[in-house]
């Protein structure tokens, strides 16, 4: 990461839901400019929690967050973060709340203080960029799963974020929709963290893969190498065999 300026920098982050065990335990992570990182981990390992901490939706009990080198502390700082970083929620029904696609995509720009006319133009341009022309007047709840996912992506991209956090963007999608999302993410020239269970998908989108375990993040390796690896072994076996390789990856 030398020479690259960082977009997101987390240091010693601790977080636990009240009375429960810590979900994030002294977690440190750095996302460089232009870097595309994949994040894998078991269900409940705290991946979504981590994304919510970055966005300021959850407040860590310890640790510091830096975005674009600036330390984020106050509520106002996080308002700024939300302009810089876009979060695509796992469930598109959580993200799309407006009756029509156009209104939903224009919601962000309107919040940023754009006039209705500007917001409309920005929304239309973004839809066009994602090959979603003609979707503007569609009713959001009647879209298919894949269409909902693409529109959620549009609602975030319209705000022109410098980084994108995607929470399991391919869950429940068919092959077609997955291919579309993959090529779309590859065309985007911004940093991103993609949470996913699918090695294939990550290999096609990110350069580095990290995994979450015991409330921390560790570097697993270059996506390509892991991808080849996983084709030789089933996933579960791979997880076990990796324990032995950890020393190797750490010594890099």
């Amino acid at each position: 990461m030398d020479g690259l300026s960082s977009i997101i920098e987390l240091e010693h982050i601790c977080f636990g839901y009240d009375a429960g065990p810590p979900v994030l335990d002294d977690l440190s992570f750095l996302l460089g400019e232009g870097e595309k990182a994949g994040l894998i981990g078991y269900n409940g390992s705290g991946k979504t929690t981590l994304l919510h901490v970055i966005m300021g939706l959850l407040t860590p009990s310890r640790g510091t967050i830096r975005v674009l080198g600036k330390k984020i502390e106050t509520k106002k700082d996080f308002l700024e973060v939300r302009r810089t970083i876009g979060l695509v929620f796992q469930n598109a029904d959580d993200q799309l709340f407006s009756p029509t696609v156009l209104e939903d995509v224009a919601f962000g720009p309107l919040n940023l203080g754009k006039s209705p006319k500007e917001a409309r133009t920005m929304a239309m341009e973004t839809l066009e960029r994602l090959n979603l022309e003609g979707f503007e007047n569609r009713i959001t709840h009647r879209l298919s799963g894949g269409e909902k996912k693409l529109v959620s992506l549009a609602t975030v991209l319209v705000m022109q974020p410098k980084a994108l956090l995607l929470d399991e963007p391919t869950t429940g999608l068919d092959e077609d929709a997955r291919t579309r999302i993959t090529s779309l993410l590859n065309d985007l020239d911004i940093s991103m963290v993609i949470v996913s269970h699918e090695y294939d998908f990550l290999a096609g989108t990110v350069q580095r893969v990290y995994s979450m375990k015991d409330g921390r993040i560790q570097f697993d390796g270059e996506a390509e190498i892991l991808h080849v690896h996983v084709h030789r072994h089933p996933v579960i076996e791979h997880r076990h065999s990796r324990e032995g390789e950890q020393g190797k990856s750490h010594s890099r």
Partner: protein, 250 residues
């Protein structure tokens, strides 16, 4: 599945400003609700039938909807004539129907049907999304408008969620009957629905915050009042005044 059966792109009313239609339907509802004389009520229901004629809606669908409401009005017809004090009209065993009772029932039936027909013709032809925007542009507080739009948006999600729960009960052999087990199961279903609804509300709110939501809603849709709107507004206002004159002068 919950549908909007009267949303009709081809309806000539679709091309009128939705604000005008909401306003006129509301004004008509007030006039009908406040009228008492049949000399005003009968022309009123005729006017609402004429509106349905203009709306281009399928008469069959409209009648189906009317049946639903008139089911409730039927109960009024069963109770009000025999309980309302007044001059006796005829005897039904131990009960006596009064002339006043029958007239009150008839008034209620006419008012309900006329108001319903006018709302179907003028308001229900637009999707809820458009109506919400129109209400916002009419100066209705944005929080109320968003309450309407959000309810509309998530009713579908809630319905799917309910069906998922009900299906999961059904595939495990649940058959509703009159038993404690049935009541308990339904209580669990509904309880689970509430839990999921509140969890979802929280996630939706988080997603809104991530897109810079700061408590203020913005409306995008603009409406324009055309000459055609003016002509319709004129006709409907004259009709409303006519009804008013029939009620208070006639």
């Amino acid at each position: 599945m919950i549908r909007e059966p009267f949303v009709n792109e081809a309806s000539p009313f679709q091309r009128l400003d939705p604000r005008l239609r909401i306003l006129m339907a509301t004004a008509f509802a007030f006039v009908m609700a406040l009228s008492d004389r049949f000399s005003a009520l009968v022309p009123g229901i005729v006017a609402s039938i004429i509106l349905i004629g203009f709306s281009g809606l399928q008469v069959r669908n409209v009648l189906k909807r009317l049946m639903l409401v008139n089911g409730f009005i039927l109960f009024l017809w069963l109770v009000v004539p025999v309980t309302f004090p007044g001059a006796p009209l005829f005897d039904l065993g131990p009960l006596t129907a009064t002339r006043e009772g029958v007239l009150v029932s008839a008034r209620i039936a006419i008012k309900c049907n006329a108001i319903l027909l006018s709302f179907i013709a003028l308001v229900a032809v637009s999707p809820v999304a458009t109506l919400g925007a129109a209400l916002a542009r009419m100066g209705i507080p944005e929080k109320i408008v968003f309450l309407l739009l959000m309810s509309y948006r998530y009713i579908f999600v809630m319905e799917t969620e309910y069906q998922r729960l009900a299906r999961s009960a059904a595939v495990r052999g649940f058959r509703p009957s009159t038993s404690i087990h049935t009541y308990r199961t339904f209580a669990y279903l509904i309880g689970m629905l509430f839990v999921r609804a509140s969890a979802r509300a929280e996630r939706v709110y988080m997603a809104m915050l991530c897109r810079g939501f700061s408590g203020r809603f913005h409306c995008m849709q603009e409406f324009s009042f055309s000459r055609k709107d003016g002509i319709w507004a004129g006709c409907m206002t004259i009709a409303l005044f006519g009804l008013g004159i029939l009620e208070w002068m006639g």
